[in-house]
């Protein structure tokens, strides 16, 4: 039988507690600017991913199905596509914007073009 056997009370409670903790932490870190610029973005993302993983495992029971693990497989495939889509789009669009940047002074500075 393919029953998910880990949907016990403890997993939900743990998930809830961890999520509360992570939410509170990231809120304080962000609203009080405990990091700067790129570092802050990184910390926010790490905490977000940690909470997402927590809820995926403890609320959505990812990885706990019996074989064959289709749900996990489809999830990982989706994750790959997501990273390619979002990462690729950001890379491409930033690259396009760079080449069409206004004011041109930014591009000129980067490429060391001086009048």
């Amino acid at each position: 039988m393919n029953k998910e056997s880990h949907s016990s009370l403890s997993s939900y409670l743990l998930g809830f507690m961890l999520s509360l903790l992570l939410t509170g932490t990231v809120y304080i870190v962000a609203t009080r600017h405990l990091f700067d610029g790129g570092g802050l973005v990184l910390v926010i993302m790490i905490l977000a991913l940690a909470q997402a993983l927590t809820q995926l495992m403890l609320f959505l029971h990812l990885g706990q199905e019996t074989k064959p693990r289709w749900k996990l497989g489809v999830f990982l495939f989706m994750l790959m596509v997501l990273l390619i889509l979002v990462g690729g789009s950001l890379w491409i669009m930033q690259n396009l914007n760079y080449n069409m940047a206004m004011p041109a002074t930014d591009t000129m500075k980067d490429e060391r073009i001086y009048r």
């Binding site: 962000a30 973005v41 959505l60 889509l85 789009s89």
Partner: protein
Amino acid sequence: MNSLASDQVMTKNDKTVLGFWIYLMTDVILFATLFATYAVLRNNTFGGPSGKDLFNMPFVLTETLILLTSSFVCGLSVLAARRGSKNQAQMWLSLTFLLGMVFILMEISEFHRLIVDGNSWQRSGFLSAFFTLVGTHGAHITVGLIWLVVLRWQMFTKGFTDSTLRRLTLFSLFWHFLDVVWIFIFSIVYLMGVA
């Protein structure tokens, strides 16, 4: 050999849960597209306000905690239903619904304030992307609430049959998934917006 009935039910559950899970994965890609669009347009304020100017962080934190709790008690209702504790399950589902309702009403009030202040989706690319991403999540929550009403009606009239239990499982997957998406909206739209 098992009888037809039990084989079908078991197989039907597995198939349906997998199919619904695959649908959820497609929904993640849909949200990913909206996130990518938001990321590209996040600074296109066209001289208008940015997130820093608009977001009320304590308000958003409250929304977040409410939705998180809603997701948690939904899980509790599934546990209760599987145990056969019908009254407990219904109670947790009432709380799930209530918290979800509060969340959506808070979000509507946030949108209303923005619109009334002249900061609707027509103001700039940034605001268009904001309303679309957050609004799509809100639309999913709304669909979930409607579904929950219909589901609870079925549970009330037909009891806790294989079919209604299966649908409760599907609903809980949907509801949990919406909270996972919200984690990223909270982090990327609101927290990074004011950072």
